[in-house]
């Protein structure tokens, strides 16, 4: 049992907090600095994290300590909490300003995309549907994808890079240059093919190919023996996916 949890157990919450902070202060700051680059923002997010962990008589820490078996490391849990609070803090900072400096510099379409994807957390497909149905009925999906990527680039160029990028619900889309025009319906066909895979196989493709996590991390998370197992399974799944897409078919277009 951790020292701070033992102090909490014997009814000494102040001592528990001091012990927890002494032991994990560096983890908390390192995690904050991973997401937040501006020094002033680090300070503000740290205050937010401390407030949250101390709130309601250390309710969050008590909930963790009360778990009969701790499977995850406490430090990993802390990093998860820090990420959550840092993103919330940034959403509040951006949400309360009418238009941030970043948004002011964006062209109209990208500003709409930034609002839908980064501030409101909508998926890329949702954002397209909303913008297409509202402000820009003539907007093509390809044009949207190009502007989406430019918006991600603009968000990544700022000082507050990491936290703003975390506000988006999905990863940065790949380059659209040279790609043919895809309709939303065809994107849906690919999603349906992915959805027919068992959950663990879907997760493997998503974590390894889309999120681009290292194979060893994917192996750990999905209880595979090693990175090689991730590679082998990925190739098998891609072959299966190709076969499935052939069966579903994409309509041929006549010239």
């Amino acid at each position: 049992m951790e020292e701070w949890a033992a102090a909490l157990d014997r009814g000494a919450p102040d001592e528990a907090w001091d012990l927890c902070l002494a032991r994990y202060r560096r983890v908390i700051f390192a995690a904050i600095r991973h997401y937040v680059r501006d020094d002033d923002d680090v300070m503000d997010v740290f205050a937010r994290v401390c407030e949250s962990l101390r709130a309601d008589d250390l309710r969050r820490l008590r909930t963790w300590a009360a778990e009969p078996v701790h499977r995850a490391r406490f430090s990993t849990w802390l990093v998860t909490v820090v990420r959550h609070l840092a993103v919330d803090w940034y959403r509040e900072q951006h949400g309360r300003r009418r238009v941030s400096a970043l948004e002011q510099a964006l062209p109209p379409l990208q500003r709409l995309i930034f609002e839908q994807v980064f501030l409101r957390g909508r998926s890329h497909a949702e954002a397209y549907e909303i913008i297409h149905a509202g402000a820009m009925p003539a907007l093509g999906f390809r044009e949207f994808l190009v502007a989406l990527r430019e918006t991600y680039r603009a968000a990544a160029a700022g000082r507050r890079t990491h936290a703003i990028a975390e506000m988006a619900p999905g990863p940065e889309p790949p380059d659209a240059d040279g790609e043919p025009d895809w309709s939303v319906a065809h994107a849906r066909q690919l999603k349906d093919a992915m959805a027919s895979l068992p959950p663990e196989d879907r997760l493997l493709l998503q974590f390894y190919l889309i999120d681009e996590l290292p194979a060893r991390d994917v192996a750990r998370m999905l209880a595979l023996p090693n990175a090689k197992a991730v590679y082998n399974r990925t190739y098998r799944l891609l072959a299966d996916l190709r076969a499935d897409l052939e069966r579903r078919g994409f309509s041929r277009e006549d010239r």
């Binding site: 907090w17 012990l19 902070l21 002494a22 032991r23 202060r25 560096r26 983890v27 700051f29 390192a30 991973h34 997401y35 020094d39 002033d40 503000d44 740290f46 205050a47 401390c50 407030e51 963790w64 499977r71 995850a72 490391r73 430090s75 990993t76 990093v79 998860t80 990420r83 959550h84 957390g121 998926s123 619900p169 999905g170 790949p174 659209a176 025009d181 895809w182 690919l190 999603k191 992915m194 959805a195 959950p199 663990e200 997760l203 998503q206 974590f207 889309i210 991390d217 750990r220 998370m221 999905l222 209880a223 190739y235 996916l241 897409l245 052939e246 994409f250 309509s251 277009e253 010239r255």
Partner: protein, 229 residues
């Protein structure tokens, strides 16, 4: 006439000599799925990252993850953070013996180190001009800031549209020593609030702009000046 050639593109991607095309298609179009209502809590998310799920709940959690872009994104983000050099260096375990020996000394030392880490830089960064100057969406703490002879009088700018203010003061252990909500833009800490000369304190003010909507100022530091002998 359309230049849309998904079949052509797909057959290219199906080349046995190149996985790149299909992978690119998956990345472009399969990255997002609709969120589900039963999203995972922080404990479960951390357990996924550490590969430490309880076998009894594992199938259900992985099934949720496979269908929830939000939770998946959090898992990927935390996995990257935990593996980042700056974070990984802090999570390499220390021995329980070292903790038992040092725990008495650590809180005081850590508190001092905490403030060295936390304090604003000297000079312009400690001034009002840097701290939220020109921001019309939050109240601005006006004093005390820095080393002050009177640490008990707190005052801040008013914020148009705000009907109440909530002031929080922290000591150098990040513990809240004072918390109050009020409609005025100044207050005085009474003697029941312990403010020690030479110690460092942080404070902030939040302005209420609507039902359950609060806008927080930057956190500023102050320290009571040592008393003359």
């Amino acid at each position: 006439m359309s230049n849309f050639r998904p079949w052509y593109r797909l057959t290219n991607a199906m080349s046995t000599h190149s996985e790149g095309g299909l992978i690119a298609l998956i990345r472009r179009h399969a990255a997002e799925t609709d969120p589900t209502p039963d999203c995972l809590g922080e404990t479960e998310l951390a357990a996924v990252v550490d590969g430490a799920l309880d076998p009894a709940v594992r199938p259900g959690i992985l099934a949720h993850l496979a269908g929830c872009a939000r939770c998946r994104r959090i898992v990927a983000s935390v996995a990257r953070a935990v593996a980042a050099p700056g974070v990984a260096a802090t999570t390499r375990g220390s021995t329980p013996f070292r903790i038992r020996v040092a725990w008495i000394a650590l809180p005081a030392a850590a508190a001092a180190a905490l403030f060295l880490f936390l304090r604003p830089a000297s000079g312009p960064r400690a001034t009002l001009d840097h701290r939220g100057g020109g921001d019309d969406t939050a109240a601005i703490p006006l004093g005390p800031i820095g080393v002050v002879s009177d640490p008990r009088g707190l005052w801040w700018s008013s914020l148009p549209g705000a009907d109440r203010y909530r002031v929080t003061v922290y000591n150098d252990s990040a513990r809240v020593v004072f918390l109050r909500e009020q409609p005025d833009t100044s207050l005085r800490l009474d003697d029941s609030v312990r403010i020690d000369a030479g110690r460092r304190y942080l404070w902030k003010v939040e302005a209420r702009l609507g039902i359950d909507r609060w806008s927080a100022s930057r956190v500023v530091e102050f320290s009571p000046a040592p008393q003359p002998r």
